[in-house]
Structure formats: C-alpha cells, structure tokens
Amino acid sequence: MQALYAQLLVGLINGSFYALLSLGLAVIFGMLNIINFAHGALYMMGAFVAYFLLNLGGINYWWALLLAPIIVGIFGMILERTMLQWLTGLDHLYGLLLTFGIALIVQGVFQNYFGSSGLPYAIPDQLKGGMNLGFMFLPVYRGWVVVFSLVVCLATWFLIEKTQLGAYLRAATENPTLVRAFGINVPRMITLTYGLGVGLAALAGVLSAPINQVRPLMGADLIIVVFAVVVIGGMGSIMGSIITGFALGVIEGLTKYFYPEASNTVVFVLMVLVLLVKPTGLTGRAA
C-alpha cells in the first residue's frame, strides 16, 4: 500500500509536465486554431536556454525560470509573425505540417551541434536533497515541480477565463472582425498568445532540465504523449488539459507499477477509448 502512495505521487510529478505542456498546446489551439507540433522542440529549447544561461552567462536556475520562457517566447513570436500568421483561415493540416517541419529543423540543428546523449544540468542548491514522507523519499526538487506547475497552470487558467484580457482573447477567436471593430489589435494579441503558449513550453523545459538530460530529442519523446493528453482532455479546453495532464500522469505511474511493459502505451489506449466514447474529448465542446 505504501508503495502505491509513492507511485501516485511520482505519477503526479510526471503529470505536472504533461499539464504544463498540454496547457500551452490548448491555449495555442484554442486561440490560434493551430496544432502546434513544434511544442516539443520549443520545450527542448527552454531546457537548452537554461543550460546556456548557466554555463555561458553564469545565470542561475531561478533567473532561467524567468528568462528562458521570455527568450523562447520571443523566438515563438517571431515564428508566428513570419510564418504561422499566413495560415489563418486555412485547413488545420497546413499548420500541423508547418510546425512539424519547424520542429524537425530545430531538433536537427541542436542534434548536429550537441549530439544525442545530452548535457548535464545540476539541481539548484536550494532544492537539493529530499525528505522522508514515511512511505517514500521525496526529492525536494520533484515536490517543487508539482507545486510550481500547479500554480502556473491555475494562473494561466485564471488569466484566460477570468480576466478582461482573457475575455478579449476568447472573443477574438470567436469573431475577430467584431473585436477589431472595438479598436483591439487582434493580430498582435494572437502573436502574444502564441508567445505565451510557447513560454509555457519553455518553462516546462527549464523545470525538466535538472531531472532529465538536456537533450535535443527530449521534446520529441514527450510531445506525442502530450498530444494524446490534449485529445483526451478536449482540444482547446484549458481546465480540461490541466486536469487530464495530472490524471494521466497518475494513471501512467500506476501502470509502471502494475504492468511496466505497457507504461508507454497506456496513454494511447486511453485516447482510443475516449475517442470512441466521446470524440470531442472529456471536457471538449462540439465544434
């Protein structure tokens, strides 16, 4: 039984990454209608920026948490301005192909220079060590990841669903012409939204740097699972993707305990089941 508690907690930790990443995807899909396949590559860039900040600029983890999302977010906004904006109104497939191509290029460039086995990034001194919870030894850093990502997820949800700015954003997706008539710069808002979604991916990248290796393919390995999370939660649903992210982390954790061989397929089995029963996802609305 104690082992089970530990597995639940570990699942929750992985769930935090799923939640952060699927949240960014949901924001981008909800507001821009783009299936952002470059998300994994941008997550990886977040981790690499943290690595560069530390090793080239001597800038520590805490600053990286702030700076990496901004730097990668700006990179994302440049992508949106120069490429993605031309796809407005076209079929989803174009956005998917374009972002997929971008992901392959970005990963290829990083792989060319840094190889595939990755670079080490140490856990910051303040978060080293762990505490004994009785049923398991919890590394402080993992606990921090859960708490921090939960706060970020809820803040994002609040920003989009409960504030004036969020209301503009949602309105701009529904009817851009009308919102523009109110004197709101819709294209700029969309660029900023993409920047926000990308920033969330980069933030997840910084959080994962001390746990996993900083590797060019770290995002490619994760992105498919995260897409399954978004599909299960319902495309574009903010709260749905947060809850599904954490929930799937836990389910995956339990699978690792009861039948480890299936741990990398369980998410997809669930996705198939959900699509069969409720094609719009658990919290999605019919389009």
Partner: protein, 407 residues
C-alpha cells in the same frame, strides 16, 4: 578450317584474358556499410562516429595507394529491426555492399544477422551487446567485436558480487539486449552465491525512471543492476541520485556504460561508478594518438567510444584479410574464415583473436569514474581498476552453444 579454329582459339583466349582482367579489377572494389542509430539514444556512442571510424580504417589501411577502391556509406536503422533489415537488403541487392559494420541495438543486430547470412555478406558487429551473436545465433558470416553481455556480466557483475553485493534487483530495457544482459548477469550472481530479488522491464527510451527506482528501492536489494544502455542508463543514474539511492546503502551497477554516457551524466553524479569497457581513449600512446586524430574530425571533438573503436579495429582486420586473399571474392563466409585464421592486432585493442564462433577476444578493463577533482580535461573520466584477460572475460568455447562449433 585450321586457320579458322586457331583464330577462334586466339579470340577465346583473348576474351577470357580480358574478362579476367576486368574481374580482377573489380575484385579490388569494396563497399562498407556503416549501419547505426544516427539520431536516437545510441547515436553518440555509435552513429556518425562509427562511420568516421570506418573511413579512418580505410585510410589507414593504405589500400587506396595499392589500387583498391573502397567506399564507406552509412544508414540509419532508427532502432527498428524492420528498418534495419530493409536497409541491409537494399545495400546487398542494389548498392552491392560487401560488409556491414557497427549495428548497435541488439534487436536490430540479430535481425540484420539473418539477412547477412542469407546474402552471404560479412557482418562485423561492434555496437550490439547480446552474446547470442556468437552463441545460439552465431553465423559463419559474423564477427562480433568489442564487447557482449557475457563479458559485462562476468566482469562488472562478478566483481560486484565478490565485493559483497549478493542481492540484486534489475532495471531492464524491454528488448533483446536487456533480456540478454539480465540473463547473463543473473547467472553470474547465482553462480557466485548471490540472489536475484526481482526486476522491472521498462520500455526502451524511458525519460522518467522514478517509478522503477522506487520499486528497486523497496526491494532492499544491495545492488540495483542497470541492464540498459545509452540515454536510459544516464537517466536512471541521474534520477537514482535524486532519490537518494546511493545514500540509502544501495549501490548502482551500470552494467554497460559508455564514455558519452559519463559525459552526459556529469562527473559530479557519476563519480565512483564501476563498469567495464574494452577500450578507453587514454590507455596508452597509441590509443591517444588515434583518439586525437578521431576527435579532430568529430563535430563536438569527442574521442571515440569503445563501439567506434571496435568499428575501426574490425574494418582494419577485414581489410587485412581481403589483402591477404589478394582481392575481394565477395564471398562472406570465405572472408570471415580468413579473418578468423589471422590473429588480430591493432593500435586500439592490442593483440587478440577471433574464435570459431565469431567472437573476438581481447582484454577487458574494469574502470571507475573519476571524481571531478581528479579529472584534468574535458574527456578525462576513467581510472583503470583492473584488467581481465580476454580468455576469462568472454564466453569459453566449451560453454558456447554455437552450431559452428559442432563439426
């Protein structure tokens, strides 16, 4: 009538002679295919570096100056047996490749082994670990260089059991390699009076090991054996440190660890790990000289891993055999027989031999990862702890189930 027959005889002779000339000219062409994981979790330990090693072996052989034309091509099997076999088939059928080298990933390696046997090519495997390549699934076309699971189990595994690590729990990569390494190590553990308490099979390329590490922790085994490789091993080691596994008295056994893995983990976390390799760049003047030349040509200036070194040594020996045969007969079995009949000797592995089952025998070295304070350069990672002579490190012929031995 007579004049006519003489003329035809002359013509036939001339034609035959011309044909022989063409044939012998063709016989000096060789095509080497370096098949590896070019972009995935094993790309740094093999990948482009293995292709480079093969090219350097061709250059160093000096055969080009003697009129030989030797090409090296490369392919990416993406760690998928179906892709690996498809490339191998195309190489033999369309591209006229003579020899396939490297092939890390035991699953792919065993699948490609069958194709090469069917096509009567030559297979010099350096990257794959499974001891089955020279045991139950040995082939007259195959030479297995560098290392294998039997060797890893009988060096690192045995040393740890003898040092008191008599209870084991395995974290095993869920494919041919992991299964072979766990099987061979378990045999060593039990033979030395130890006990295997359990294990978990994890999918290949797992980013998060925390769940499996907790299970290993709960088993209370003294040794947690990592029967995995590349990115899986580095993640497991790094995360084990996070969960305080070393401090709790349990010890990690990195059964297979490469130079590039240590680089990825960082000395801070990796220090003190014991493991076995058959090549390290900083062994002697010859290995240092080769590694310097190699690193200069690598993008990230990395010295060779033992897999890449094995590719170099294997190709050198292959070309020596071809030169001794006087040309390339394009007959895999004949070339491999010649390779087995000649003792191996090169700058990287020293003296050795290829056994009748295709296993190359050379020294194996027990290393320990240095402390950060002991490391003097960017790739100065290992301390030599002990040397195991080849005949003690690899499967004794009496234990081998290879069909080639039953004549």
């Amino acid at each position: 009538m007579k004049t006519r027959s003489i003329a035809s005889l002359l013509l036939t002779t001339a034609l035959t002679f011309a044909a022989t000339c063409v044939a012998s000219a063709q016989d000096k062409t060789v095509k080497i295919g370096a098949l590896s994981d070019q972009s995935g979790l094993y790309a740094d330990l093999g990948g482009p570096g293995s292709t480079l090693a093969a090219q350097m072996a061709v250059e160093d052989s000096g055969l080009a100056a003697k009129g030989w034309k030797i090409d090296v091509i490369s392919g990416d099997h993406q760690n998928k047996p179906d892709i690996g076999t498809a490339i191998a088939r195309q190489w033999f059928d369309v591209d006229k490749v003579d020899v396939i080298v490297d092939v890390p990933n035991s699953g792919v390696a065993l699948a490609v082994n069958n194709v090469i046997k069917e096509k009567n090519g030559v297979y010099i495997n350096s990257g794959a670990a499974t001891s089955d390549l020279s045991n139950a699934q040995c082939s007259p076309n195959t030479v297995h260089w560098t290392y294998d699971t039997y060797m890893l189990a009988h060096t690192t595994g045995q040393a740890l059991v003898k040092a008191g690590g008599d209870t084991w729990f395995f974290l095993t990569a869920d494919y041919a390699f992991g299964a072979a390494l766990e099987r061979d190590t378990s045999a060593v553990v039990t033979a030395n009076g130890g006990k295997v308490l359990g294990g978990v099979k994890h999918p290949l390329n797992t980013p998060d090991f925390s769940s499996f590490l907790l299970q290993a922790q709960a088993s209370k085994a003294k040794i947690i054996g990592l029967a995995n490789a590349g990115g899986d091993t580095t993640n497991a080691i790094k995360q084990a440190a996070e969960f305080g596994i070393g401090k709790g008295g349990q010890k990690l056994a990195a059964l297979l660890l490469f130079l590039t893995d240590v680089k990825a983990i960082g000395l801070e976390t990796a220090q003190g790990l014991n493991f076995t390799e058959t090549f390290y760049w900083d062994m002697n003047d010859k290995t240092r000289a080769f590694s310097k030349r190699f690193a200069e040509k690598m993008k990230n200036n990395a010295p060779p891993t033992m897999v890449q070194a094995g590719v170099y040594a294997g190709v050198r020996h292959y070309l020596k055999a071809l030169e001794a045969l006087g040309g390339n007969p394009h007959d895999g079995v004949k070339i491999v027989e010649k390779m087995k009949s000649m003792p191996t000797e090169d700058d990287l592995f020293g003296k050795g031999e290829i056994q009748p089952n295709g296993r190359t025998i050379h020294n194996a070295y027990l290393f320990e990862v240095k402390k950060p304070s002991e490391s003097k350069g960017p790739w100065d990672f290992y301390k030599l702890v002990g040397t195991v002579p080849g005949d003690q490190a690899f499967t004794p012929l009496s234990e081998s189930k290879c069909a080639l031995l039953k004549k």
